[in-house]
């Protein structure tokens, strides 16, 4: 199989091929995350109606996404299994939240 051949190829080298992210990029990600934290705390004090919650969760999802992509190296991994597990975990979480909330939201007592 192709991946077996790829592994056999890797073992010939003393150092396994692995992406090393530049320190500058990590600091940039850190700066974005810190700015987003203070942005979300500030924007919560502005009256946006029901969109306060939407904006807060949107900022949180952006922050979580860049942590997953850059700090957790998902952007650089060649392993498809990592991405498959991540996507299926998010899918199951959505299933849990969406089905439960659509049940409660459509009840007369809800």
């Amino acid at each position: 199989m192709a991946d077996h051949l790829a592994r056999a190829d890797h073992s010939d080298h003393s150092q396994p091929s692995e992406h090393v992210v530049s320190a500058g990029l990590y600091w940039l990600i850190w700066a974005i995350l810190i700015c987003a934290t203070f942005l979300t705390a500030w924007v919560a004090t502005v009256d946006l109606g029901i969109f306060n919650t939407v904006v807060a969760l949107l900022i949180a999802t952006c922050k979580a996404s860049i942590v997953v992509l850059f700090f957790m190296h998902v952007k650089y991994t060649s392993e498809k299994m990592t991405k498959a597990i991540l996507i299926s975990a998010i899918f199951w979480l959505f299933l849990l939240l969406f089905l439960s909330l659509s049940d409660y939201a459509t009840r007369a007592s809800g």
Partner: protein, 237 residues
Amino acid sequence: MSDRAGVGETPLAVEHVDRPELRHHFADVVQQRNAASLGMWVFLATEIMFFGGMFCGYLIYRRAYYPSFAAGSRSLNLVAGTLNTAVLICSSLTVATAVRASQLGKRKQLIGLLFATLFFGIVFLGIKGYEWHDEYVHHHVPTFYFSAQDLVHDNPNLNIDPQATKIFYSLYFALTGIHAAHMIVGIGIFTVITIMAWKNKFSPEYHTPVEIAGLYWHFVDIVWIYLFPLLYLIDRR
């Protein structure tokens, strides 16, 4: 699909004398590292479901008792919550750069960054403990002495149900408590990693423990990234 007959001919079970860190049941270090990483990702998927159940309960009760949840949220210490979010982001930076230092074989830098991570983790727990004490003093811990009279008094125009604020505080203490338990486990893991780094166990060829411990730490950070707006910022207008 090519045939797998060739696999049997490769000496898979040979002890790798030159690579003591490579376990004999793995073909090579890349396969061993991928297996360890895969295991951690599967564990994190179960963790998403674990926290997901509590998030789901939170969302259902928040819909049902919004004014009480908003009043409970306003009583939390916003400055401490924001500061703690920043502290955890700093710890994620030190973890990410620690993994980088281990990839490059920079031992001194690695040890320094691991100590910085432990420091930030302990600072987070310290601020969290300060908040919990504050809430205990104000009778907001949902036990025998629970009282939400101060919230009812502060929000006379809102329809605040003390029993519903008790649900908010129960969810708040459960979510932050289990998150803090994960932080304590993370500090334990990183203490072991720091000792291993001190004993010079890592090299550019082998640093899997640093990497997968880092995955765990970043996950705990992500949980807090969601907890912060959901608990502290329900209604701050």
